[in-house]
Symmetry: C2
Subunit: 343 residues, 2 copies
Amino acid sequence: MPRGVDVARLAGVSQKTVSRVLNNEPYVSTEVRQRVLAAAEQLGYRLNNAARALASGRSRSIGVVTLGTALYGPASLLMGIERAVRATGYALRVVSTVEGDPTGIAGAVESLLEQGVDGIVISEPIDEGAELVRADVPVLVFGTPLPFSAPRVVTAGVGSGELAHAATEHLLDLGHATVRHVAGPQRWYAARERLAAWRAALAARGLGEPPVVEGDWSAASGYAAGRRLAEDGDLTAVFAANDDMAIGVIRALLEAGRRVPDDVSVVGYDDVPVAAYVTPPLTTVRQPFDAVATAGLQLLVHAIEQPHEDLPQAPDHPVELVVRASTAPPPRKTPGRGRATSG
Amino acid sequence: MPRGVDVARLAGVSQKTVSRVLNNEPYVSTEVRQRVLAAAEQLGYRLNNAARALASGRSRSIGVVTLGTALYGPASLLMGIERAVRATGYALRVVSTVEGDPTGIAGAVESLLEQGVDGIVISEPIDEGAELVRADVPVLVFGTPLPFSAPRVVTAGVGSGELAHAATEHLLDLGHATVRHVAGPQRWYAARERLAAWRAALAARGLGEPPVVEGDWSAASGYAAGRRLAEDGDLTAVFAANDDMAIGVIRALLEAGRRVPDDVSVVGYDDVPVAAYVTPPLTTVRQPFDAVATAGLQLLVHAIEQPHEDLPQAPDHPVELVVRASTAPPPRKTPGRGRATSG
DNA sequence: TTGAAAGCGCTAACAC
DNA sequence: GTGTTAGCGCTTTCAA
């Protein structure tokens, strides 16, 4: 492997000048720059990142902690983060925490720190008990402040705006007396956020809160939840915390003889690519993963590169309600049918 | 940040001994080991990976080139790779190539090489023209040999076994006269592989090859394909190259007045988590992403750490056909209905 | 605008 | 078992 001095020798300059050229530093004559570039090309020279990191104390890389699942939401956010990181010129290091891993997020952060990342992203915060995580680099958390001890902790979020409870409101606007919720696993911040949005929407209309059914994001758990919901003869509207569970709910309702949306309306969350093509096409809530990831990473890079400036505020990226055919006004009360399955 | 010498001083040993302890090298007395560990703990010491990589010439990290999509297949494979890499003790660096990126896979590989990875994984090979990629570390490609120039190129694959054309055979076994194929984008190796499997299954029965409709993996493209297929009055069986497209096909057929599976059977590929809960539940092909990733990474690590030994053969991980309700025997010929939509 | 010298914090090779 | 001595290939600082 050729080194910087080899390039320098070939170009007839000092090694420092090679370094200057390759780092786009000023104060190099165009002529020298050309010569160095040509020499580097000719030798097939590549900068050695380890040496660079050791000498400079910075690795130009950002570490991300993921949850190791291929679920649409987390996967989409991760892809958004990848794109956004690339755009900033940093490299990406990934550590996934498996559910049930005893070291959890703290262990993942520790291993990223050991790798010498300049900043850390927690892509999908889950609650691991109140273990404090110490980091000596800035940390970006999507959605919620976590118990972190770091020079700067920045939070970027989705749907903190008015549209956060769009799903529930949509159903209430259609005339449903109340809305049942199939929640995600409550260790996940995203699940708690959606539950809270549902609560808030009901409360805003002065409605009481029917019991919540909790799933695990999977269609199978949605199906199980749907079977329980089908026992409720008054059921006319369901808000599921993601599309997969919504699809499971719909299937269970269908099997219980409830038509969707004629008897029961169902709303999902995520707008997975198939949502428009299942039967019935799913009304759902779309999240702007890319925009959120981009904005969050800009903040993080700012925190890394301007440690003393104030952090700008993260812009709000409202979610978007996509209305399709799985929601409709409630059926007119038909005594006898109302409690058909429960009696 | 404390350094190795600081720990050494505190423990009353040499810096090299600290290094030995932290690298689990032999020839350190248990007593000294304890003292060093205690000192490191007390100072909050962390090994500096950049220095380690510079001195040793190895970064203990593996780079993976992904395609930057949240599609179920690629995302699942990426998660499998993450898990597998973690199990090997290596760190993970990720670079995503965006479709249409001029530098493509070659550029991604180049940037990983600059980061000093010890090995490279191409998770989702796509055809980028015959640009030769030079790497000076071992490379693992899932599915197909790529034009690589590297010390070792290892390939790990899925379904090279007999079950590869299970989907098409299943439909033929049910009595369908032929099977139409909705292919994935042919730049993708995975799409070409499935197309080839479909071809082989037809050829094995001496059947001719009906025209292929190509999609882009999305449900929307499956829907478009389904509309075209619906013009074929003799259509009774479709094999889509992934589940999303299959779901789109089903919706288009439904809208064209074809019942699934009564009039037309549809098989997908991937077994996405909702496949069992859509209407009708989808017959599909499941891939063992985790097993494939694990096996592939073992090979790669072997190639990294035993550069001179022969590579063991990658085991075959057959795909699994999951039969659900979207497939059935073809309808009995009903003249008049057969060409209903095309005439 | 360019160059020389001095490390960055570790591992490798060898002595003891 | 343990310590000593050299670097690894850059960036930083300072001088020219």
